[in-house]
């Protein structure tokens, strides 16, 4: 009973934090996940059309009621400016439907009634006599759908109702996800290869020099991502600093300047640079805590420098490698500005595709599904990591 007072206070004190986490993390994540499978727009905007289609099995044309309801609901949606919400999803199910829907919505009011709404609509656009058109509307009318996940996983629903892989040339996202994972892994390894000696140098230098070196690592850290990425463009492009230097030194002929940007090389270079501090800092903090006498002790016990490093130093830096590696990897998976700017076509990652679907194609359901898959992949890797290395052994500094 005595504990209850202070304890309640302590819990109360954490409430703002919990609220913050809820608002900034759980809520967006929940929205994201729901968007990937819940798409109520079509159902809300064309309720009567969908009701009239209920029971129609795709055989022949749907009943007149469906035509009549559509002829009423489409212009209404156009007037209420909600037509976009119908046209987008239906168009994704059947290419060209945006045009069919928007033109019909515009023309049906002025069109002459041809005795039945069926005839009237078909008169406006022959697409209305194809069952596929109506099937697309029917499918888009489902409030809950897994089609974004299917698309994100490069799967499709077969005519027989089963689920199978898409044809080779229309598989986009899974190869891209693999590419993203491989690039992230590559960037992580590069960061480790470059960051490890740097962190070691900083950790073992006298204070004055190590402070300077640390500053040199941190200054880019504090610099805008765009500035750093642009700096790489200046350095790496065909007429850039590095190429000009190579040509001036006669190493490469002017006609064969190296192509180091707008391809995978550009993505690798810029991302490694941008993410390097996230590797160096945890490594540095771990290395600084390793007494220099450990390597001396190993040598005095008869270990040559390689043995000493492998058996004594490296194992003690594992927590730092784990932390830095996980940090860089997870950040790399989500990067899209840097690949977008310097990656060219071949250097694009899954995040660029998510950005494309959020900003350009407005296919938020697919973007959400892709994000969810990415999230699951990261969580999966995290679990594997914690099983292998142990998350409690990870040290961020």
């Amino acid at each position: 009973m005595q504990l209850r007072g202070p304890r309640a206070t302590a819990v109360a004190l954490t409430l703002p934090l919990l609220a913050f986490i809820g608002l900034s993390f759980v809520a967006p994540l929940g929205t994201l996940l729901s968007k990937s499978a819940y798409e109520p727009n079509v159902a809300n905007i064309l309720p009567r059309t969908l009701a009239a289609l209920d029971g129609w099995d795709g055989d022949g044309l749907p009943p007149e009621a469906a035509f009549a309801s559509l002829a009423e609901e489409l212009p209404k949606a156009r007037q209420e400016r909600t037509l976009v919400r119908v046209a987008g999803p239906v168009n994704r199910l059947k290419s060209g439907m945006r045009r069919v829907l928007t033109r019909t919505a515009r023309q049906v009011e002025k069109a002459e009634y041809a005795g039945s709404w069926r005839e009237t609509l078909i008169g406006i656009n022959p697409a209305w006599q194809e069952p596929d058109t109506w099937l697309a509307i029917q499918a888009a009318g489902a409030r809950f759908t897994l089609r974004h996940y299917l698309q994100a996983l490069d799967l499709e629903r077969r005519p027989d109702g089963g689920i199978g892989l898409r044809s080779e040339e229309s598989r986009i996202y899974m190869p891209l996800l693999w590419r993203t994972l491989l690039v992230s892994l590559g960037v992580t390894l590069l960061c480790l290869a470059i960051g490890y000696p740097i962190a070691h140098l900083i950790a073992t230098s006298p204070p004055k020099r190590s402070n300077l070196l640390l500053l040199m690592v941190l200054v880019p850290f504090w610099t805008s991502l765009l500035v750093r990425t642009t700096a790489w463009i200046v350095l790496l492009q065909r007429q850039g600093v590095i190429n000009s230097l190579l040509v001036a030194l006669g190493i490469t002929p002017d006609s064969e300047r190296l192509e180091m940007i707008y391809n995978m090389t550009g993505t690798f270079t810029a991302m490694t640079h941008v993410l390097l501090p996230f590797m160096v800092l945890p490594l540095y903090s771990v290395m600084r805590s390793i007494p220099p006498t450990h390597m001396a002790a190993a040598a005095s016990l008869g270990a040559n420098p390689v043995q000493g490093f492998m058996r004594v130093y490296l194992p003690q830096t594992l927590p730092g490698i784990g932390a830095g590696g996980l940090l860089v990897f997870i950040l790399a998976i989500g990067y899209y500005i840097t690949p977008a700017l310097v990656g060219g076509r071949s250097g694009q990652l899954i995040s660029n595709m998510i950005a494309y679907h959020v900003q350009t194609s407005l296919n938020w359901g697919l973007a959400a599904a892709l994000s969810s898959i990415l999230l699951v992949a990261v969580i999966g890797l995290y679990l594997i990591y914690s099983r292998l290395i142990g998350i409690d052994r990870m040290r961020l500094g």
Binding site: P291, T293, A296, S300, L301, G302, A303, Q307, R311
Partner: protein, 364 residues
């Protein structure tokens, strides 16, 4: 390799890290097999650098170090086969105690069964049987140091270097381990070069002690010789306690000289060939000073004023005004009838001429 050569020889070894300061200069020193030699000196006196050069972690700037008569210049530390015990133990935290002990055996390619046997033996040597599966982080400081010692010995080196190994431990533990180290050293017959700044530790453990000061050795000798016959004023003041009185040599006669100190004449052993008229420091051990109330009973007798008395259990510490200093210390054993001296009393103090040494004033 020369069977008769000393185990270790420093020949004209010098070391500096920058252009101006010699950290170690003109070091000549040899260590016999099975000897326990301590390098003693204040911090920054170059003793640790000497040890590190011997271990191979530092290279001399000039001169040569020989082990068993063979120069070791350029031999990397892992090829020297020397056990080293570090101040902070330097146990590998990611390995168990057993793993730490097995490490030097593994890198030597020893078979697993023999390794286990040796590890067990080493644990037994430092009385840590059954701790093989623990992690260093689960051990106390004293236990860690025992393991560090065992690890330095497990591959059976005949030379072990210890760099202030007990510096981080409290006094009781330190004394206990001093005894342990000495026991193990005698039992195995290994040569030990030991670095410390603690003169009591040096005295208690060593066969010989080399006193370092500013990169040079002031004196190398057995502890009792250092104490009784310091050759230099620095040694006299660094080893034990000494009253040092500045004066001038008046005359010399058969190893005894007369020194004028603050208008008085004091007789002292004549050390180091100081000529008549030279400045000298007269060193007198506090415990060799006698105090009486009546005059005419003591050699080198002088009148002095009692300034202060501290009771320290086994002895009394008396501060006196004498020969121009008010900080002349005398230690009187706590035995019945010490005379009931009180602060402010005028007393007679005296000492045997041979308990008192006139040393070169030099660079003290």
């Amino acid at each position: 390799m020369n069977g008769d050569a000393p185990h270790i020889e420093y020949i004209g070894v010098r070391k500096r890290y920058d252009r101006s300061n010699w950290v170690v200069s003109d070091l000549d020193l040899s260590v016999e097999r099975g000897e326990f030699l301590t390098l003693l000196g204040p911090s920054g006196s170059g003793k640790t650098t000497c040890l590190m050069m011997l271990a191979g972690f530092e290279a001399p700037s000039a001169g040569e170090i020989r082990i068993k008569g063979a120069p070791v210049d350029g031999l990397p530390p892992d090829k020297r086969g020397i056990g080293v015990v570090f101040q902070n133990y330097a146990l590998f935290p990611h390995m168990t105690v057993g793993g730490n002990l097995a490490f030097p055996l593994e890198v030597r390619g020893m078979a697993a069964t023999e390794r286990r046997e040796r590890v067990e033996r080493a644990l037994a040597l430092v009385r840590m049987e059954g701790f093989g599966d623990r992690r260093p982080g689960q051990l106390s400081g004293g236990q860690q140091q025992r393991i560090a010692i065992a690890r330095a010995l497990v591959f059976e080196p005949d030379l072990v270097l210890m760099d202030e190994p007990l510096g981080a431990l409290d006094r009781r533990l330190r004394e206990e381990l001093q005894y342990e180290i000495r026991r193990i050293q005698r039992q195995l017959g290994v040569t030990v070069v030991y670095v410390t700044h603690d003169q009591q530790e040096a005295m208690a453990m060593s066969d010989r002690v080399a006193v370092f000061r500013a990169g040079r050795i002031e004196q190398v000798a057995a502890p009792e010789v250092l104490y009784e016959e310091p050759q230099r004023a620095f040694v006299a003041s660094f080893i034990g306690e000494n009253n040092l009185l500045p004066g001038r040599i008046l005359s010399i006669n058969k190893g005894v000289c007369a020194v004028e100190v603050d208008g008085r004449q004091i007789e002292a052993a004549h050390i180091g060939g100081l000529p008549v008229g030279a400045e000298a420091l007269v060193a007198i051990r506090p415990e060799r000073v006698r105090i009486t109330r009546e005059a005419g009973q003591l050699a080198n007798e002088h009148e002095a004023q009692v300034e202060d008395i501290s009771f320290l259990g086994d002895h009394l510490r008396v501060r006196l005004s004498l020969c121009g200093t008010s900080n002349f210390i005398a230690k009187i054993p706590n035995i019945i009838g010490h005379g009931g001296i009180l602060p402010g009393d005028t007393v007679q103090v005296g000492w045997a001429a041979l308990d008192c040494r006139a040393l070169d004033v030099e660079s003290n």
